[in-house]
Symmetry: C2
Subunit: 340 residues, 2 copies
């Protein structure tokens, strides 16, 4: 059901039944290491190229999801997935082997919540009984595609973020699929593209923060909720600077989100020891941090009402060379343990 | 409602209320020229680069859709769109200016039906009152991204297809939105990725035909329909060779689709005068040919029941260099003038 300007209310409370997360070596040196399901110390994940490694990362993540949920791939109706690689090849080659009908998505780092929204929508509308949402990113494949080859050894500017090597996946089922309770998708607010003219591709946080602000404000207006209704407003991946901008934008509206705002890009690394500047990014960041950390806090009852907001920067290296600014987008989904 | 293995039955008959199509100069020399709504003799569409031209192409197409439907952009709930450019920048920069909540999609040349399925799903589930599905492709931006710079002047192999410079868009509304009748989305069959090992990137038809076969066969099994239930099974873009393979695959199952099968890639050019080898391709091809040609035949009652099947090749130039084969995918949607 549509509510307000751009929000969907899920009538049937699609349930996030299980999640899965996997990260690479650098993420295992970070503060959230103990929360991830799986990791690999080999940045190649046993493959010959970084791109094949990213596909393997997603594949390992999804297969772990099926193991955790005691679910055979043949029982999944549809998978909604994407990644940062050109032509979404990490997802494509992974899902080729899974033999599941596939909706390919591209929303840059916003893709994980885009996939959660669509996977939940298909359950809510009874188009499907079991759907999967998944995304991945890989530092080395992203560096050479979006920035410079690793061999170049270029320095990063202080506002730069570090693409996370990680994948996250969620299995969505109808509310009554099992007797377990909690972690229901209740509302979704897909975002508009917001572009305030930032053209520094090493400052994604500033480019994406206005989109996060737009989507969260619209979500609150559409649902009639106050920001403090939520135990946490979880963004990914605004990083350190983008998070400051978001808090500042809300404060100008007289809303203090500083205590409930969490950013996956800030949480996944410790800049003081890991030299990650403004934090993590990449569509594997919020995917792995939500799946590995926040989802578990929801299931433990330590959080009960969260708004998950993934942000993406919709530029390409070519559009930047052609003088375009960086358009931002943010998609939000609220996930709650109790359904009214 | 889910029926069979991978098919959705739309309960509320989402209506394709209007479509829009625009093509470039080469397409206006082809057999379907008189059917397209708009064209431009300038391959740059007034812009400075091919990529900006593609964004303009989609923008002109969608704005023409709104004009034809007497619809303001502000009344559109969600837009589902994608293109072939890295990071889907044709869609991103076009939709930035439209200010409509945006789901970015990537399914290579299958994206138009992926977008039609999702846009229809959101109407059927009452998540939205008005949605738009749109895709684009541009010969010159695709050549330099996927193949060689135009300046290189390389020869094409006989099985090659020519990326179409075109965009198509459709406005989907609830069945009772207006008194006009016809062109309802009735079933959707999202496809699995099928890869039989074709690695020649100049032979996309052969790589995608098995995916089209898989999706159409599954659709027929799931719905209990025979192939001849449909007035036309419209694929895009198998081209000349891929179409022959598809007809052959069906004939091995004892099903003759030769009289009802139409391929947008075959229809849009005349190889005898246009040197287009196996025909057109690109996600603007089926978008413009469905929107400009087949949709109008439906509205005129010359066709009443069609299955629209968009095929995509999910490789990238990099995956091919890394020795991967070309995975194919096909998504199908049935569009009918009468709803049982």
């Amino acid at each position: 059901m549509k509510v307000g300007n751009q929000t969907i209310k899920f009538k049937n409370s699609p349930k996030i039944f299980e999640t899965s997360s996997i990260v690479g070596p650098k993420e295992m040196q970070g503060p959230l290491a103990s929360h991830f399901d799986m990791h690999n110390d080999d940045i190649f994940f046993g493959e010959k190229t970084f791109e094949k490694a990213e596909s393997r990362l997603m594949s390992d993540c999804i297969n772990n999801l099926f193991t955790k949920a005691s679910m055979d791939a043949s029982r999944i109706d549809y998978i909604f997935a994407g990644d940062l690689l050109n032509q979404c090849i990490a997802s494509g080659f992974c899902i080729r082997d899974l033999n599941i009908p596939f909706f390919g998505l591209y929303g840059a780092c916003s893709t994980f919540v885009e996939s959660l929204i669509l996977a939940s929508s298909f359950i809510d509308a009874e188009f499907a009984n079991k759907t999967v949402a998944a995304t991945s990113s890989h530092f080395c494949s992203a560096e050479r595609q979006f920035r410079m080859p690793l061999e170049h050894g270029n320095q990063k500017s202080p506002t730069a973020q570090c693409t996370v090597t990680a994948s996250g996946a969620a299995l969505i089922v109808p509310k009554d699929y099992s007797t377990t309770t909690g972690a229901y998708a209740t509302y979704a607010t897909p975002g508009k593209i917001i572009d305030l003219g930032i053209s520094d591709i090493m400052n994604m946080g500033a480019a994406m923060a206005p989109a996060a602000f737009s989507t969260v404000m619209t979500h609150l207006e559409d649902t009639g909720r106050k920001a403090d209704y939520y135990d946490a407003i979880i963004t990914g991946d605004l990083g350190v600077l983008g998070s400051e901008i978001l808090i500042d934008l809300f404060s100008k509206e007289g809303i203090d989100i500083s205590l409930i705002h969490k950013d996956c890009g800030k949480l996944i690394y410790d800049d003081s020891t890991q030299d990650t500047h403004c934090g993590g990014s990449g569509c594997g960041c919020i995917a792995s941090v939500f799946s590995g950390y926040f989802y578990k806090l929801l299931k433990q009852g330590k959080l009960n009402k969260v708004l998950v907001v993934a942000t993406g920067a919709l530029m390409s290296p070519l559009s930047s060379l052609q003088g375009e600014s960086v358009p931002g987008i943010a998609h939000a989904i609220s996930i709650e343990n109790e359904v009214v």
